[in-house]
Symmetry: C2
Subunit: 643 residues, 2 copies
């Protein structure tokens, strides 16, 4: 965490300096007449986007929600490793680690062949393979995730807080308007203001308003897909049981009425059960069955046999039917008009895709949707990038959303199927196959299945061999390094903050450790001096040299062998109003970590390489250190010169 | 973190359930007429004590400070590993880790023999040896440490907040009073109330009111010691320098006016410099020299030669003379009356000892003082222990305070001495010896030098060979283990919360993994069933079975080989209003940690052992698992039966 660059202060460093436009401005509960971005919906997608945009003092964001206040009891609870990496960029991963339940191992239960009315454990799987991420897979009430985002927003330069009790009536986009082309009409539904209608004009509107999204409807789009005609119940309970694995994630296939999933929850006592209930008829809705919580409990007790389950408190419960639906476009530009129109309205999260909750993907995919969109909106609004960039949101996220629906359809089918009664597995799913399918998809459910396809934002794999473990299009996989200026062991990936900046990681070749004419030294010289340098072309005048591109170097020598006196000046940049040196740009491999970052990520130790990482932590390109022209060309494809 | 035991709630789990006596009670800024404990002073010692006591719903604590509000700019900044371990018990170590500057390595500089006006690096030392603690040595503004304690107090069942703007006038102890024998008179010094005098009667008063302690004076005690007649300056600055080690802790011995210490600070830019200034005459006070900050800066610049130092902002600065003084008793009972009187008034922190700040010990020793006192006051107030226990505070802390003064006197002398000009080191201190002395005392400065002597609270070392790495009288040294109920890797020592409970760690012998007649099983049986069992004798009726003694077991088998179904019931206790099972009591060695906890802490793998740990994390005793009678006898020495 870096702070005090522009002078000391006594407050919590997470409370950022207030944006100049807000100084001495009275706080008002009214909706402003216009904004840069209007976000509809305070769920995980909406709050991730709002938090991301709140970090930019010059962007005016408004976020509304139909509810009268913050969520107190969430439905979603699974937080994938990938999501934890994103939380790290918002500086609250540590709080989540402390408060959440960690999923370390999954156990599998099936009918005991000798006593088929009993269940028995038949397998165990480590939930997250060693080294997949520096973070574990955890479980925490969605409402607490909201709390952390809301705190980040309150502390941001924009001191952003939601406007609650607003229901979107409709949206209109005026294609001829030169500015703020989207007009939204909202109705107040909060006490004392009920029925009042407000208007707001925005440059962009993002619908994070759930499966029944009013924003999506206003765009004339819909979710398309199918239903599995299977009812499930879910309940969060405090209970006493002699089932030994109650604090593990567990998948039970039983002969006593169906299948069951256990998700242990934060605090050490709470547990969530997903319980298979009735098969539904074609087009039948689960509500028609009038399933009660007592039936859920009875079904769970039956499945648990011979173990007992005594429910002491039902914190929350629900029934649902499994469906898999997705929208074919995440913005308001039809496919055939992509080359002639810029998007103005977007949807994210459940507004784009709905599926079964049991793989724990809903909240995670939703947040990754809007984390993908956030930096792009900021870059366009701040005139760093061409508006064309915004097309990439739907292109990238709709494609990975499709993968999710495909996975979920198969997983939901398996999980609602009977255990096979014999070795051939006829008439059901073989418990071994069930476990295998789960294991096979663990990287996907950890959030590591996302790989963006080549585009103006994602380079070709031409130089992938220089960093075989840092795949272009996938998220930057962190590893430990030593910071040479103070010998601190840090995670290199944690340099990435949710601040809209690009990270340029220059991995030095074996002989490369001085400010000289090749490798890292030559790259720094190019970036500092060349007329083609992206740093010179795209960094706004008057801003810190690393305000758009945050260059960091990683050497192979031990920190004792690296003299900071001989480092290129660009790696010890002077910043802020005092011109203080930033000492957190230069690293070396950790001699106590075996294998080190070069080996862990398959980096060519002779040549080194340059890895370009987007503001949302995805790898945009891998290049040789001396490919200065390719580097310049890549950014020229979508960035706007400051000239 | 465990929560929801008595039902779900939607709030931050750090916000505890409010104490029954505070429900529906209006909040008042007035001082109450009486309290269990009155703490004078909101420094590190006072706040540690207040935070500790605030955790008990049945203890009424009042804390006052002469200042009008919380500290914004602190003087102390060093946080030793041992202190971080204590912070972990208050659940804010993670926040400190995130925000603080980590001290990883110390470098040593001396005059360049070839150019004695220049300084050159001659050594490097890793600051904290591998494995000394699971926490690093860090640096953070004292005011932020205060903030974390104040937040803990606000969140506590007592919702405790300081009464600011109160100056202690005097104290009177009425030896004949049966209750609340101490009367304090306080004068309000805050705006609008200036001059008002308030009275409060307390059972105990603790003076955490600094070197000029009014509480100490009211007891007729004083600090005794000597001064080194050496003036030093200290300043926190934002500066630009080409000195390469500015982000390391550095000790410079120079020929240009004296010595200098660098302490890098949180945020990546701020740095603290300790600068040697004038030699003082006998009995001369530093204030007489009228040293200015410009003189400090000039002295630092001279010492840094040939490197430059350009100061951009001075955040705080001060000059001081080195003194080493200690009070010979930390409570109001003279040595000769220890057997006939109980203490009612205590002092802690700078009120007991003052010394030079450069070893970073002041804040740390102060907090350890009152962490030692806090649980004892709570245990006596809650009638768990005999009031005699309170004598152990002065006995234990005054003794380690003396060690500190001895260390500091020698260190301060060295650090104010000239570098030796020749190999023989005549006329000054040899830089190599200087570095050696520093290295030798690293464990001490990390806070690991404290070992309490045998007493009713600290058992003899009879069975020390059963756990050669867990020394009786020293702090419990944590190590990683696997929790068998959910396969989570945790630090065993983090079971210790600042909740006044004893931890009983039962390390099982190699064959011991079932609920049977020996080892851990037999111990559980004794604790559950015997009339001599401390659990039965000292746990108040109606409270959870682990409310006084928190028993945890550590086995040698892998978690897959340990069936929780066959564990003694005491290791899966049912608690709270629902009788929910606590699943966080049973652990095993971590197969991925080589060596494992048994080897790391020298635990006898054949016999196992029982380690008793006090509420302040110090080891009270090591016993064989079957030494049931010794176990009962130990607690009978100072605890009060609930009968």
């Amino acid at each position: 965490m870096q702070f005090f660059l522009n002078g000391f202060f006594g407050r919590d460093p997470k409370l950022r300096e207030i944006a100049p436009r807000l100084k001495d401005k009275p706080v008002s509960g009214d909706l402003p007449a216009q904004a840069d971005v209007l976000i509809v919906g305070c769920g995980p997608a909406g709050l991730t986007l709002a938090a991301q945009l709140s970090a930019f003092p010059d962007i005016h964001t408004v976020i509304v929600d139909v509810k009268e206040g913050p969520l107190e009891l969430g439905q979603a609870d699974g937080i994938a490793c990938r999501t934890m990496e994103m939380f790290q960029a918002f500086d609250f991963a540590d709080q989540v680690l402390l408060e959440s339940c960690w999923i370390n191992e999954v156990t599998f239960w099936k009918p005991d062949p000798n006593q088929p009315q009993n269940i028995m454990r038949h397998g165990r799987v480590q939930d997250t393979e060693d080294g997949l991420s520096e973070f574990p897979h955890v479980v925490l009430n969605q409402a607490r995730v909201h709390d952390f985002y809301l705190e980040f927003m309150r502390n941001s330069p924009n001191r952003l807080a939601p406007h609650y009790g607003r229901k979107l009536l409709d949206l209109q986009v005026d294609a001829s308007a030169t500015d703020h082309p989207v007009t939204a009409r909202l109705e107040r539904v909060d006490t004392h203001h009920d029925g009042q209608v407000e208007m707001i004009r925005a440059r962009y509107v993002v619908g994070c308003d759930g499966a029944r999204s009013a924003v999506r409807k206003s765009m004339g789009l819909e979710l398309v897909g199918d239903a599995a005609n299977q009812a499930w119940g879910v309940m969060d309970i405090l209970a006493v049981t002699d089932f030994p694995d109650i604090r593990y994630k567990v998948a039970i296939q039983s002969n006593n009425g169906g299948n069951l999933l256990i998700i242990p929850r934060e605090g050490g006592y709470l547990v969530r059960l997903y319980v298979e209930m009735d098969k539904l008829g074609e087009d039948e809705r689960v509500a028609q069955r009038q399933i009660t919580v007592d039936r859920l409990i009875a079904a769970a007790q039956s499945i648990f046999h011979p173990y007992t389950l005594e429910v002491k408190e039902v914190v929350w419960w629900s029934v649902y039917e499994i469906g898999h639906r997705i929208c074919d476009k995440y913005d308001d530009v039809p496919a055939e008009k992509v080359h002639s129109r810029q998007p103005r309205v977007f949807i994210a999260g459940d507004a784009c895709h709905t599926h079964s909750p049991k793989a724990g993907q809903g909240m995670n995919f939703s947040m990754q949707d809007s984390f993908n969109l956030g930096w792009k909106l900021a870059a366009v609004l701040r005139r760093q990038c061409l508006p064309d960039l915004l097309h990439s949101y739907s292109a990238e996220r709709q494609s990975v959303g499709n993968d999710l629906i495909t996975f979920d359809r198969e997983w939901a089918k398996m999980i609602s199927d009977k255990p096979a009664q014999n070795q051939q597995g006829s008439g059901g799913v073989d418990p071994k196959e069930f476990q295998k399918y789960f294991e096979k998809h663990l990287r996907f459910t950890a959030g590591m299945g996302t790989q963006y396809q080549p585009s103006s934002l994602t380079g070709p794999s031409t130089h992938q061999h220089l960093a075989s473990g840092l795949l272009v299009g996938m998220r930057f996989h962190s590893a430990p390094v030593i910071r040479i200026t103070d010998a601190k062991r840090v995670q290199l990936g944690h340099a990435a903050k949710a601040d809209g900046r690009w990270r340029l990681y220059a991995f030095a070749g074996a002989d490369d450790h001085r400010n000289d004419s090749k490798g890292v030294g030559a790259l720094c010289k190019f970036l500092e001096q060349s007329a083609d340098s992206p740093l010179r072309l795209y960094t706004p005048p008057g801003q810190d040299i690393d305000s758009v591109f945050d260059l960091r170097a990683i050497f192979q020598q031990a920190h004792h062998e690296l003299a900071i006196e001989s480092m290129p000046a660009l790696l010890l940049p002077r910043k802020g109003r005092y011109g203080l040196r930033d000492y957190e740009k230069v690293f070396c491999a950790d001699p106590k970590s075996e294998p080190d970052i070069f080996d862990l990520r398959g980096i060519d130790r002779t040549q080194g390489c340059l890895v370009l990482v987007r503001p949302d932590q995805y790898i945009a390109h891998v290049l040789p250190l001396n490919a200065h022209r390719e580097l310049a060309g890549f950014f020229a494809g979508f960035m706007l010169s400051n000239q």
